[in-house]
């Protein structure tokens, strides 16, 4: 390749150089190419890794994401005009330099090919990226369709815990998905041993409640389960007890495909709106919405963490013009004035309510320096207690009620040994603990001690944890206030859990009454500003005192309680809490973002603006981000939110809004026949490491009906009408997330990547030409030159010898 430097620079030949030839000379200069490559290197680096701002580049916070400051995603950074100009100049330079400096001959073929390959690749990329469409589509496995004789029909996606109702008045049915078994093995019939999708729906009908089991693909096996008296088996097959498969033939349930008609574009934003009651969302695309930074118009719109440096105020103005068709507000353009990248809606207590609703912020501090603040609401059973029930906040209607609290009973442990006719009522007075001494029960071998008396406030139960010894045997009993929940754990670690529920020793019976006097009681009322604290006698000598806001009070040795704020007429105010940057989970993406939508006040001649449902007029509302704009709650998939925001218009109409992504119609609807997990040796254990592959069996709606199932799995996409479908994400099994949640066995839906790929083959062709050129230049060219030189070398050698 060294010969290229020797090849004549065409720009320098000729005495008088025109502007054109100078320009040509400049743009065909190799040095320009080198300079452009350097700039490209720098541009790509700072856009990708960011700028290092610390010496220790291994620290994640050493890298300042410059790209995000410009509100550009990776994709956008590399399609920004400076990048495009750079690439265009480079291509121009390559073309001119090749044409003008490298004579096309056998020796230089490698450089020509390499450069030509790069140009072809660039052209292919222009085609590819300018027409690129990329998104994803969630497809649920089945929907449950309910039909009543009158022709009424209702449906919901089959998802654990999903509910819907059908019918009205006295003829209402409430349906709830009780359990889904993704791979249920058929136990009888011709297809015995095959596996299918089983959904058990709990039906509360007008006359009776029962469970209806539905099997995908086998409507003939649908059957009902009814309640029985046997506690071991609370539901039995109706066929057994009543002689027929279905106990209620009025309601008809079936499992149908749940086809998806849209896919949702990656990195896009859209506002969805509709009148309340309308079925379909109307989409208003949002262009140029920021994605990476917080844009606040006022600190009064959000909650800020106490330790957080407030971000600068910089409102934005992103217009959201009406959609072309079907927009419920066709004359109104909205605008987005604020954007939060990472926030959570939180309720906080503010003053100025119009009715009694005592609220207090209480700080508990201990000597070691640890402290915790609690916000309490006396009238809200969920938010009345703190410290696991050890602190309670009351509103006192009258003085006598206080007396009742003062005289409240201590917690009691009832012990009964029927065989020996022993009944004991022991108040739990001593401070329980791990080291507390055992108390013998006279006349028996039993000894016991109370280890702890926690309150599980979130479940609304209290219990005493009691260690029991009887001779050699020792075990721990969890004595609940609800005797049905009481159970024993064996003493040593290892195999204890396997001893099963129930009692180790049934001869001794214990029940627990939590009592009232154990807790700290903060008491407001009966006057608005009266606030008192009752301390249990075992903690302190002073048991009752008036509270001064802001003044710490010692409640027991080493612990103080301070009422930081007291509002007799508190109210809850919801605002987004701006999560401090260090606490933001980077894998969440846009999922925690929010926008503030400004609703121009309609010109009604009065002071009425938009109305946030019930209360005062509003001009703007916060809208949280949604991955998918589900049409209804009943279509929502597990792990995805459905939180539309309703606003009342001055004309009485109510409009729902949702902030999500842009959608495009799929060429034809797609349904999910089955979803399978293929596992490594040892089966699927719940860990991702045990999974070998995920497989969606898809059906597309063609003109002639549904196609046969087509498998899409990792690295094996399917093309259908110019779009490619990829296996992208799945529905893993999940334990219950809150009380009443049935948990999920997973596999109820798939998420498909959807994309086009125009020009990929041109890109590939370019790459191959370039590779061929490189190989030629490095390995073939020297050979050709050697052969050409060989005769000269031989002559030289002979001459020398």
């Amino acid at each position: 390749m060294n010969d290229l430097t020797r090849s004549e620079d065409p720009g320098r030949s000729g005495g008088s150089r025109s502007v054109v030839s100078r320009l040509l000379g400049f743009f065909s200069s190799v040095w320009l190419g080198i300079a452009l490559l350097c700039v490209l290197f720098v541009y790509a680096s700072i856009g990708s890794s960011g700028l290092p701002v610390r010496l220790n580049i291994f620290r994640p916070d050493a890298w300042m994401p410059l790209r995000e400051a410009f509100e550009l995603s990776e994709y956008e950074w590399f399609h920004w005009w400076p990048f495009e100009v750079l690439i265009a100049l480079l291509c121009l330079n390559i073309v001119l330099a090749t044409l003008r400096r490298i004579p096309l001959n056998l020796v230089n073929l490698g450089a020509w090919l390499t450069h030509a390959g790069i140009i072809v690749l660039a052209l292919g990329s222009v085609w590819y990226f300018s027409t690129k469409v990329e998104g994803d589509a969630p497809v649920a496995r089945r929907e449950i369709v309910a039909r009543l004789p009158g022709g009424e029909e209702a449906s919901m996606i089959a998802t654990p815990g999903g509910t819907m109702r059908i019918g009205d008045g006295e003829e209402t049915y409430i349906l709830q998905v009780r359990e889904i078994v993704p791979e249920w093995e058929l136990l009888s019939g011709d297809d015995k041993g095959k596996r299918t999708y089983k959904v058990a729906v709990f039906v509360q009908g007008p006359d009776q409640t029962f469970i209806r089991e539905l099997l995908a693909g086998y409507p003939q096996y649908t059957e009902d389960l009814v309640r029985s008296d046997d506690p071991q088996q609370p539901f039995v097959r109706a066929k057994k007890t009543r002689g027929k498969a279905l106990v209620d033939e009025t309601i008809e349930l079936s499992l149908d495909y749940a086809p998806q008609e849209y896919f949702y574009l990656a990195g896009s934003s859209a506002l969805y709106l509709r009148e309340v009651g309308a079925e379909e969302w109307i989409e208003r695309p949002i262009d140029d919405l920021p994605r990476f930074n917080d844009y606040l118009a006022s600190y009064d719109h959000v909650w800020l963490g106490s330790s957080m440096v407030p971000p600068p105020l910089r409102p934005i103005e992103v217009a959201v013009p009406p959609a072309d068709v079907g927009d419920p507000m066709p004359d109104v353009a909205f605008s987005i004035t604020e954007h939060l990248r990472y926030a959570q809606m939180r309720q906080r207590i503010a003053g100025g309510g119009d009715r009694i609703n005592p609220a207090a912020t209480v700080r508990i501090a201990v000597d070691t320096g640890a402290m915790q603040d609690y916000e309490l609401l006396a009238l809200d059973p969920q938010r009345r207690t703190a410290l696991g029930g050890a602190l309670e906040f009351h509103w006192l209607e009258s003085e006598p009620a206080l007396a009742a609290l003062r005289d409240a009973a201590p917690p009691m442990l009832h012990i009964e040994i029927p065989a020996q006719d022993i009944v004991l009522e022991e108040p739990i007075e001593i401070a329980p603990g791990e080291d507390a001494p055992f108390t013998p029960i006279a006349g028996t071998e039993y000894r016991y001690r109370v280890r702890a008396t926690p309150t599980l406030a979130d479940r609304g139960v209290s219990l005493a944890i009691v260690d029991i010894e009887r001779g050699e045997q020792n075990f721990t009993r969890w004595v609940f206030d609800d005797p049905a929940m009481t159970r024993d754990l064996s003493g040593d670690g290892g195999m204890a859990e396997h001893s099963g529920a129930g009692l180790i020793d049934e001869n001794i019976i214990m029940t627990y009454e939590p009592g009232e006097a154990e807790a700290l009681h903060l008491i407001a009322g009966p006057e608005d500003d009266a606030l008192r604290l009752l301390v249990p006698a075992r903690l302190s000598e002073v048991t009752e005192r008036d509270v001064v806001v802001g003044e710490p009070m010692t409640v027991t040795e080493g612990a103080t309680l301070t009422v930081l704020r007291y509002l007799p007429r508190g109210r809850l105010e919801a605002r987004p809490f701006l999560v401090p940057p260090a606490q933001r989970d980077r894998s969440v993406g846009s999922r925690a973002s929010m926008i503030r939508l400004n609703l121009p006040v309609a010109d009604t001649g009065s002071d009425s603006g938009f109305d946030s449902g019930g209360g005062s007029p509003v001009e703007s509302v916060w809208l949280p981000y949604h991955d998918y704009p589900f049409q209804r709650e009943e279509e929502t998939l597990r792990r995805y939110p459905y939180r539309p925001t309703t606003v009342a218009l001055p004309d009485g109409r109510r409009i729902e809004f949702m902030f999500s992504r842009r959608r495009l119609k799929l060429p034809s609807p797609v349904a999910l026949e089955t979803f399978e997990v293929e596992s490594h040796v040892g089966g699927f254990t719940g860990e991702t490491a045990s999974i070998r592959d995920w497989r969606s069996m898809l059906k597309f709606r063609a003109e002639t009906g549904w196609t046969d199932p087509i498998a899409v799995h990792m690295n094996n996409p399917v093309e259908f009408q110019d779009l490619w479908f990829f296996q992208s994400s799945w529905d893993p099994p999940e334990a219950p997330r809150f009380q009443g949640d049935p948990g999920s066995s997973g596999l109820n839906y798939t998420i498909l990547g959807v994309a086009n790929r125009n020009g990929v083959l041109v890109q590939l062709l370019g790459c191959c030409i370039a590779v061929a050129g490189m190989i030629y230049a490095f390995y073939c060219k020297p050979y050709i030159r050697r052969r050409r030189q060989a005769p000269h070398a031989a002559i030289a050698r002979e001459g020398g010898s």
Binding site: I34, S49, A582, S679, H680, P717, F726, V771, F778, Y779
Partner: protein, 588 residues
């Protein structure tokens, strides 16, 4: 003159190797099983876990030997430190069966120095006794702390605070909490899935011996097991645990031999229960530190190779090549053994990528040294590859948490023929880039020496028109480097060019193959992911190199500088991008 340089080289290399040769044995303090003040062998020393270590355990979708399993579990607890020289297998069982002994024993590894300092500061309040303060000092230095100290309320409070900082400290706190959970005796018991599915079947689940003892009747597949075998297993297991709790080494050895004989009989199907030889080799491989000690042999080969390159002593060449080929032999054995044990080509995680890349480089060097013995560049490829392999294997030895040697399954998205080719081609090119940087650095040193003596080095470059001319069989004397007046500088530059040009093509081809794979795996051939961008950046540096070499007057100097920069960008991609700026490619 020459001899002085030679001795200087030897002195420097000996100095570099000294800390390794003189490494103190890692017996610090007294562990729970340590022989305290007498010469009697401890329980740990008398227990023989050879056969037990070769039992199959199911974990994370793979059936592995107990030794290998224990190594990866204990790595999550103790990091790279061993407790009092105990084997991982022993520590696993001891933590499980005698947890009390470890409650106040410093054995949980805290990786991050800032987290260590925060914990030590909370515990070091005025008035603590000297022993504790000494312990805390040791903790700040070595990173090991006991569960009882970690569970102190104040430490929990500081950990809770540190875990809210997702950017800086949360993952280290997570690691500590994970270590606490992993070392919990009941979790260790639940993880010990030693019983193969009695009914056979590769997709059926494995059981622990506890489950066999207690849930046998409720599980139909366990009920399928012959009653006699089951009874024997259960009683051997109970005897084993009891003997262990009594520190009865004889009893442990007898019952572990029983278990080792019985367990493989539960499901003799080789599809389910791996062959004995595979398990034995896996145990051997993990007991020998995944053979990362090979780096030492590579290091020793450097001395003679460097002497040969500088002074052309043929004895040094033979000594160097002998050591290098020996190291390569072990390295090949390690790669092949890992392939045999894991059942797939070892290129699925960072450990494998690094060791296999170095092996590719070594293969290339061996081929070159064998087939181009008369080339003036001989010895240089072995030298470059020795440096590359030494660095790679040292990294795996000294950073086992980042380069985790645990054998795992390939992620589902990586099952693809293009991907296999793509990753291997890319890591091969990376190895060549590293080797090129070695010869480029030598060139820079050489040029620096020349310029100190006032010589002009502009002509110190190989007159190549494509690297092919350097390796082509040619009439005597016609190769650009075989003329009589060829200097070391020209030879070094030629070596760099051969490596750069090959890696240039491989890198490009590798990126393209990655794009082909990404096109049908993620729906786009190119996603501007940081890892992709920096692979492209590496390529841009080499494109610059080739064009600067055309234009610049001092070709050799610029080639060497850009080769080093290219290697730096490649390493930046592999290290900083992977561990700090995670992208889609974070697996390797």
């Amino acid at each position: 003159m020459g001899a002085r340089y030679a001795w200087l080289t030897i002195a420097v290399l000996t100095f570099l190797a000294a800390p390794v040769l003189g490494q103190p044995a890692p017996r610090e303090g007294e562990g729970p099983a340590g022989a305290r003040g007498n010469d009697e062998p401890s329980f740990a020393e008398r227990v023989d876990l050879t056969a037990f270590g070769r039992l199959a355990v199911h974990s994370r979708g793979r059936v592995k030997s107990f030794d290998s399993f224990a190594a990866s579990v204990m790595r999550a607890v103790t990091g790279s430190r061993s407790i009092d020289g105990q084997s991982d297998a022993f520590t696993y069982l001891d933590l499980m069966l005698r947890p009390g002994r470890y409650e106040d024993e410093d054995h949980i590894y805290v990786k991050n120095k800032l987290v260590r300092a925060a914990i030590a500061q909370t515990l070091a309040e005025p008035g603590i006794d000297a022993a504790l303060s000494e312990r805390l000092e040791r903790f700040v230095k070595r990173g090991l702390i006991s569960p009882s100290l970690l569970r102190a309320e104040r430490v929990q409070a500081i950990l809770a605070r540190l875990s809210t900082d997702l950017m800086r400290s949360a993952r280290y706190v997570d690691a500590v909490r994970n270590a606490l959970a992993v070392r919990d005796a009941s979790n260790l018991r639940q993880g010990l899935k030693l019983v193969a599915p009695p009914g056979g079947g590769a997709e059926e689940r494995w059981y622990t011996l506890d489950e066999l003892a207690m849930a046998g009747d409720t599980r139909p597949d366990l009920a399928a097991m012959p009653a006699e075998l089951r009874q024997k297993l259960i009683s051997a297991w109970i005897d084993f645990t009891n003997a262990w709790r009594r520190s009865d080494a004889v009893g442990v050895n007898a019952t572990s031999a029983q278990l080792a004989a019985l367990l493989p009989a539960v499901s003799p199907d080789p599809e389910v229960y791996p062959e004995h030889s595979r398990l034995a080799w896996e145990s051997w491989y993990f007991r020998h530190g995944n053979m990362t000690w090979i780096w030492l042999i590579y290091a020793f080969s450097l001395v003679p190779l460097l002497l040969f390159v500088s002074f052309r002593w043929s004895a040094a060449r033979w000594a160097g090549l002998l050591l290098f080929f020996a190291a390569f032999g072990f390295h090949t054995f390690a790669v092949m053994l890992r392939w045999y044990v894991s059942g797939r080509w070892p290129n699925a995680n960072m450990f494998e990528a690094v060791t296999t890349a170095a092996w590719f480089g070594a293969c290339f060097a061996v081929l070159f040294e064998l087939f181009a013995q008369r080339s003036p560049m001989r010895g240089l490829f072995a030298l470059g590859s020795a440096v590359a392999s030494m660095t790679a294997l040292m990294a795996t030895k000294f950073y086992p948490l980042q380069l985790d040697p645990t054998i795992g399954n390939i992620m589902p998205v990586l099952h693809d023929v293009w991907l296999y080719i793509h990753t291997n081609v890319i890591i091969f090119s990376y190895a060549l880039i590293f080797m090129a940087a070695v010869s480029a650095l030598l060139y820079l040193v050489y040029r620096a020496g020349r310029s100190l003596r006032g010589a002009d080095g502009t002509g110190e470059f190989a007159r190549v028109g494509g690297a092919g001319s350097l390796i082509m069989t040619a009439p005597e004397g016609s190769s650009p480097l075989e003329r009589a007046r060829t200097t070391i500088g020209q030879v070094l530059d030629g070596t760099t060019m051969i490596l750069i040009e090959l890696s240039f093509i491989l890198l490009w081809a590798g990126i393209v193959m990655g794009a082909i794979w990404a096109d049908h795996s993620w729906g786009r051939p190119w996603g501007w992911d940081p890892k992709e961008v920096f692979a492209l950046n590496t390529f841009i540096v080499f494109a610059l190199l080739i064009h600067v070499r055309l234009q610049a007057r001092d070709k050799g100097l610029w080639t060497a500088i850009l080769a080093v920069i290219g290697c730096a960008v490649m390493l930046f991609n592999w290290i900083v991008i992977n561990f700090t700026i995670a992208g889609l490619h974070s697996y390797a």
